[in-house]
Subunit: 231 residues, 2 copies
DNA sequence: CCGTACCTTAACGAAATCTTTACACCGGCG
DNA sequence: CGCCGGTGTAAAGATTTCGTTAAGGTACGG
């Protein structure tokens, strides 16, 4: 990441765009702007920004196209801005690979916090810290080496089992939604196949838990998702 | 927020306006005044105050219009002043996005306390402390991780319980109307099912409060809604 | 061609959650 | 005093979501 980070704003509403530019410049980000989806794509190609702020309600095409196109070639963090209450938009945008969602009207402080968080995460991934090792009392996961040990014993996991565990480890201690897990492990087109999760969580528990009927690490959050607790 | 904070008073009654100006100036706030709704909007645009005190009984238009217009573009805290007994006005103003209400005649000390609370909260949001986790003395809510801790202990919440708590946390300190909570958690088609709220507020209190019969965080505002107070 | 490992899919009992109903409580008011 | 609206509590279904198992199906190496 360059320092300062470069941020691309794709937003047709002039006052909001101006406001964003001012707020971001004040935080020492370098700002690029686009008013339409196609101009946004052009700017993205030209500038290769570190993060994209994307309004969904654009004049020429919808913002979803922009997400799709960017995600075809890059993992640049994308924050979607959209009118409040468009729950469907939110789900669709996140399914297409957007990283976060902020409803308008928004509090600028919150938006800045989310930008910082995503830039931090992107930096971590670039530095390969993601390939480190996760340790809990009884479970040890070597993400780079693809090795899992339980109470000292090495345990063999199938590819999908490992990807699933990896997705949980990345957010250790936090709830990961069904949708997130499915998109991460099986891809966006399987984001509704919650049955996969039931089967594979069962298999992971059989391999990792002492008593798979009373799991201590792989916790179910009914109606929401799963969570890996440390310790 | 500038220091001192700037407060806009929109109030047609001269004695009250004068009294407010004196009280607020004594607290070192910078005060702007307007006597009508349209003048209020003009002042708001010109001054971009940190907080608005709004009387609902204005001569030219009603105060509701002012709330609507401000909320189209900003989250500036709004405290509504309303004559006693106008319960419906109060609820409508809050539904439109007002943050708090004070009935006339009011105790100046209480009004000042609510102003301080809203300014504090607005400052925190600007600094981006919100968005991720909410902290009160005994309760900690990790919104991203969907984890709730009470006095250190992790507490499990069902999906609806969590969404309800989340809706309260998002507006921590301010009154949230029955309608807003119902729309947020159950959707627009259930905006009249106030019984849901009684059942689930009861469950939240049982899980979060020391003594659910004497709640300290989840406060009932009879006839209006509920309020989460930060310990 | 066969065996092995793995993935997908369906079926069904169990568990958790949500909805609905019933009733007690409280304060104000005729 | 009884009535009433708004509120809080408890519990019985109804409904949704989970976990488990097992039966194909596919890919790959020997």
């Amino acid at each position: 990441m360059r320092n300062p980070a470069e941020i691309l704003i794709v937003e047709d509403d002039a006052p909001i765009r101006k406001f964003l530019r001012a707020s971001l410049s004040a935080e020492d980000y370098r700002v690029h702007e686009a008013m339409t989806a196609s101009e946004g794509m052009a700017q993205w190609l030209a500038r290769q920004p570190d993060l994209v702020l994307l309004d969904l309600g654009l004049p020429d095409q919808d913002g979803f196209t922009v997400i799709r196109q960017i995600r075809q070639t890059a993992l640049t963090p994308i924050i979607v801005l959209s009118a409040r209450g468009r729950e469907k938009d939110k789900v669709e945008a996140l399914d297409l690979g957007a990283d976060d969602f902020v409803a308008k009207p928004f509090a600028i402080g919150e938006l800045l916090a989310r930008i910082r968080a995503l830039l931090r995460r992107a930096a971590r991934i670039r530095e390969g810290v993601d390939g480190a090792t996760f340790r809990a009392t009884e479970i040890e996961v070597d993400l780079a080496g693809r090795v899992v040990r339980v109470r000292g014993e090495e345990v063999h996991l199938t590819p999908i089992e490992f990807r699933l565990l990896q997705a949980l480890v990345r957010h250790a201690g936090k709830v990961v939604t069904h949708r997130q897990l499915l998109v991460d492990v099986w891809g966006p087109q399987h984001s509704e196949q919650a049955q996969y999760l039931r089967v594979y969580m069962g298999q992971l528990r059989r391999k990792l838990e002492r008593d798979s009927a009373r799991p201590r690490f792989l916790i179910t959050e009914p109606g929401v998702g799963y969570r890996l607790v440390e310790g």
